[in-house]
């Protein structure tokens, strides 16, 4: 087996290294630029699977319930996540509406489903061509999912509206906060190197 001598390159600077198995919980760093090369986390798959399933439930809740409500002199207005994405549409800016719907609904959902498929593929040793395809595009689209940026936008809007009218913070606001936390935790736990290595093996 050549596995212990498998050459790998640093993702940041391209420096070549030799792969060698790590003790559980340890991390390998690049000798030139210090970037993380790979990690050994024994229960990575199970934790990520649990977080992703929780994330999918929170995603549904976030989209079903209203995010914010506003009461002004007897009139009431509610805003769902989809409504916020499409607000620009009604204003005559379909491109912007499209961009926002990608940022806060499509890409986050795509990421959750991809991680689910990838983890299940590795765990049950399925054929990995679908998982490889999805994981590749997920890595490319990652910066375009902007849940946490949107959350900051919600907070700014809440303070701005605070003295204008009575504001109701909806159920989706809290599930949205939970969704951001679970997705951040899943991203922090998932080691791309280990995933690619596992997917590459199932393929051949």
């Amino acid at each position: 087996m050549l596995v212990s001598a498998e050459p790998i390159a640093c993702h940041d600077c391209g420096q070549l290294h030799r792969y060698s198995p790590l003790a559980p919980g340890k991390t390998a760093n690049c000798t030139r630029c210090g970037a993380v090369l790979y990690r050994n986390r024994p229960d990575m798959l199970d934790s990520v699977l649990a977080l992703t399933l929780a994330g999918l439930v929170l995603f549904v809740l976030t989209n079903v319930f209203p995010l914010l409500g506003l009461r002004a002199q007897g009139a009431e207005q509610e805003l769902h996540l989809l409504g916020a994405s499409l607000a620009f549409w009604d204003q005559g800016y379909p491109l912007l509406a499209g961009l926002i719907i990608l940022n806060i609904i499509i890409f986050p959902l795509f990421e959750l489903l991809t991680v689910l498929v990838v983890v299940l593929t590795i765990r049950y040793r399925w054929r990995s061509s679908t998982a490889i395809f999805l994981f590749r595009w997920m890595s490319e689209f990652k910066p375009w999912g902007m849940l946490e940026v949107f959350m900051l936008g919600v907070l700014v809007a809440v303070v701005k509206l605070g003295d204008l009218a009575t504001l109701i913070v909806g159920t989706a606001f809290w599930s949205f906060a939970g969704l951001i936390l679970t997705m951040a935790a899943a991203t922090a736990l998932l080691d791309p190197f280990s995933v690619w290595r596992a997917l590459g093996k199932n393929n051949g």
Partner: protein, 210 residues
């Protein structure tokens, strides 16, 4: 190490593969593991594409700041706000933390991105060996921070979606928001197309010659 010449690294999955020696100028190779396109170093047009995106973003930065981004109407009266007057109104209302968030995310970050990416491109073109670690860090920060500029676009979306009470109170989006979003998108694409490995290329070439 001689292996640098023979091995190509996939930018998506990190897989190393051997370059076929007969690869012609416009021929592309696909990564054997993930199928993404792998370009040879001498085929890379990353510098030119990044410059084009940056220049487009710099041009759009002007209307993004001059044109109003949204209008707030209260009891029929109201005025359009540009990014800077919006931040100023927040400051006037005593909400300086919010004014700071809007100012940093919408004005400082896009401007810094335009400058740092231009600086990195110039240093790459001059084949500079100056502080490669720091330039790499600068690139990573720029790439990460860029998406936060979208916060103002999201605020406008939330306000226009929520505040629609006819003549009583109403928030409308204006053309400036479109230019501003275009600046954010273009600078994000610019950061993605800039091949950060070019920062290290000069050292790598020297290492392989010794």
């Amino acid at each position: 190490m001689a292996e640098h010449d023979a091995l190509l690294q996939c930018r998506v999955c990190g897989c190393l593969s051997h370059a076929s020696t007969q690869l012609k100028r416009f021929e592309v190779m696909h990564c054997p593991r993930c199928g993404a396109r792998v370009k040879l170093a001498q085929q890379s047009n990353s510098v030119e594409v990044t410059w084009a995106l940056l220049i487009a973003a710099a041009i759009l930065y002007i209307p993004a700041n001059m044109l109003p981004i949204m209008s707030v109407y209260m009891l029929g009266a109201g005025q359009p706000d540009t990014i800077i007057t919006g931040a100023y109104h927040l400051l006037e209302a005593g909400q300086w933390p919010l004014a700071l968030i809007v100012f940093v995310a919408s004005i400082v970050v896009p401007l810094l991105k335009l400058f740092t990416l231009s600086f990195l491109l110039i240093s790459i073109q001059r084949r500079s060996r100056w502080r490669q670690h720091d330039r790499m860090r600068l690139y990573r920060i720029t790439e990460y921070v860029g998406r936060w500029s979208m916060v103002d676009v999201f605020v406008i979306a939330i306000l226009t979606g929520l505040v629609q009470f006819g003549n009583l109170a109403r928030v409308d989006a204006n053309l400036g928001s479109l230019s501003f979003a275009a600046v954010v998108v273009l600078t994000m694409f610019a950061a993605r197309t800039l091949d950060e490995h070019l920062i290290w290329d000069i050292t790598r070439q020297e290492e392989s010659h010794t």
